[in-house]
């Protein structure tokens, strides 16, 4: 049986960092310098959690998971755990999720549009991590 890690655990974060750095080059990330915090509400344990990415010139400089308030970021996306989990598993497309009104974005919408394809690129890597949701 395949070894799995708990979604949003420290082990999952470590695996995500390893895979993202290996599979997405700075060129593929368009040498982006930015940061985004995904805030998960209504997690299975009843708490709110976050997943935070910071990129510098296209390199993943910081990937954090945690509980409560995330670090300051250029973009902040808040939504229910189930929706984010569906996105990470590739069950829900990001456009559908955004237009459902269930995700709330804070940040410059015009810049966010430019980055939407990068978010999809990241999710495609993350969905391959064997995880328990």
């Amino acid at each position: 049986m395949e070894h799995t890690v708990a979604y949003l655990s420290q082990q999952w974060r470590d695996e995500a960092e390893k895979r993202l750095k290996a599979e997405i080059s700075p060129e593929k990330m368009k040498h982006l310098t930015s940061s985004v915090a995904y805030v998960y509400v209504d997690c299975p344990d009843g708490r709110d959690k976050y997943l935070f990415f910071k990129t510098e010139n296209g390199t993943f400089a910081q990937i954090l998971v945690g509980e409560g308030e995330p670090p300051d970021s250029e973009f902040r996306v808040t939504g229910p755990y189930d929706l984010f989990a569906g996105l990470t598993q590739g069950k829900i497309k990001s456009q559908r999720a955004l237009m459902s009104g269930k995700l709330k974005l804070r940040g410059n919408m015009v810049k966010a549009l430019k980055l939407a394809s990068l978010a999809d690129r990241i999710n495609k890597v993350l969905e391959k991590i064997p995880a328990r949701y």
Partner: protein, 408 residues
């Protein structure tokens, strides 16, 4: 990215100074944040054409922020003097709809305190005015709970009344562009060119010539270039004639009312013709019209009023026996894109209509606009021309020439 013109550029407008003026007025009236939604306000502050529903939030100090539909935000960033951090897009996504994103922005400016938020509402006969809708008002009222929303459009109206040099120069250029359109139309009509031609073709000929000369849009919401022929020139009280596919006919009048836009300044000049021939009676009507336009242009100066001019001109028309054919209005307001129709401030007896006693001041720009209509004889003429009010006269910006020509 289009930024502020150099100060020695003839079309230079000091937009940061405009914003400072607004902020001074806000402070004087105890308004903490100004939420503009009218097209005239967006043009006047951003120097960009905002065709989609847009808003501008002016903080008590610092730069304003424009909010527009996300599909047009990048272009506005490209054309406005404001940068990408001050032109933001809204979209049908959670937290990104226009009410949420703007209310959050206003709350961030207010830093948790309760304040007075100026907004724009009123009444307009101009479709794209852009007053806050009832739904928008209620939604902002709820989203900004605890804050006091006050109608404050008079701040922009007052500040934009007298045109600065850059704006005047833009209007002059737009008018010269319209002259190019008229030259092209006249050339196309001449030497039997009018035969088989439709009103829509004339509108297109003018549009092409004006676009070649630098116009970006036949800006009028009355169907772009307004062309009327035959009975359509003389419909009762009618001063709105989107071009149709009606073909020109010999012996009929033709009215060519064309529009150009240059850096949000609006060219608007109407010229009239007879096709092929004109009867003595038609030429009598034409002389009446040319004479009253000529007289009206001489009447505009600082200190004159719409009512004073209307009374004087209607007396003249009565004396000459053509008062029944005159639409008794002689002008409409004009400013940067979105500012059309009402003259002066909203301080007349009829809310949101021109105050007939408005006292013209040097530096105001308006459209001298006159319509002559005789439905029974299927004849009519229109004159429109942007004019700049000066101390003891006015400057008519379009130079195409006042006459009613018989196209042979």
């Amino acid at each position: 990215m289009a930024k502020l013109h150099e100060q020695n550029d003839p079309y230079f407008i000091d937009f940061p100074a405009r914003v400072s003026q607004i902020q001074k007025e806000m402070a004087r009236e105890g308004i903490d944040v100004y939420l503009g939604s009218r097209l005239r306000t967006l043009s006047w502050i951003s120097d960009a054409f905002c065709p989609w529903r847009s808003y501008v939030v002016v903080p008590p100090e610092g730069l304003p922020t424009v909010f527009t539909f996300v599909i047009d935000a990048a272009r506005i960033i490209d054309e406005s003097w404001l940068d990408e951090d001050h032109v933001l897009g809204y979209a049908p996504m959670g937290g990104m709809d226009q009410i949420t994103i703007i209310a959050d922005h206003i709350k961030a400016i207010l830093k948790g305190k309760r304040g007075r938020v100026g907004f724009e509402t009123g009444l307009s006969n101009y479709l794209p005015e852009g007053n806050l809708t009832h739904f928008e008002y209620e939604a902002f009222h709820d989203a900004l709970e605890g804050n006091h929303l006050v109608n404050a459009h008079h701040i922009i109206d007052r500040l934009s009344l007298i045109k600065d040099q850059g704006t005047v120069n833009r209007f002059r250029r737009a008018s010269r562009i319209v002259d190019e359109g008229h030259k092209a139309v006249k050339e196309a009509l001449s030497n039997n060119g009018w035969k088989g031609m439709t009103e829509t073709e004339i509108a297109g000929i003018a549009a092409l010539a004006m676009r070649r000369a630098g116009s970006v849009w036949e800006w009028s919401f009355t169907g772009g270039n307004e062309i009327a022929s035959g009975y359509r020139t003389g419909m009762a009280g009618c001063a709105c004639t989107p071009a149709t596919t009606r073909k020109l006919k010999k012996g009929e009048p033709l009215m060519v009312d064309i529009h150009a836009m240059f850096k949000l300044a609006l060219g608007d000049h109407a010229h009239n013709y007879f096709i092929g021939q004109a009867t003595k009676r038609q030429l009598w009507h034409a002389k009446n019209f040319v004479d009253i336009v000529s007289k009206t242009l001489k009447a505009y100066r600082s200190g004159a009023s719409p009512l004073g001019i209307a009374e004087e001109m209607m007396d003249f028309a009565e004396t000459r026996g053509f008062a029944e054919y005159m639409v008794p209005g002689f002008e409409h307001g004009i400013g940067m894109m979105g500012d059309e129709w009402r003259i002066g401030m909203n301080d007349g007896p009829m809310p949101y209509w021109t105050n007939p006693e408005h006292c013209y001041q040097e530096g105001e720009v308006l459209i001298c606009a006159m319509q002559y209509a005789c439905p029974d004889e299927k004849i009519g003429f229109r004159y429109e021309n942007p004019i700049l009010i000066l101390k003891d006269k006015c400057e008519a910006m379009s130079k195409f020439g006042l006459r009613i020509e018989v196209i042979e």
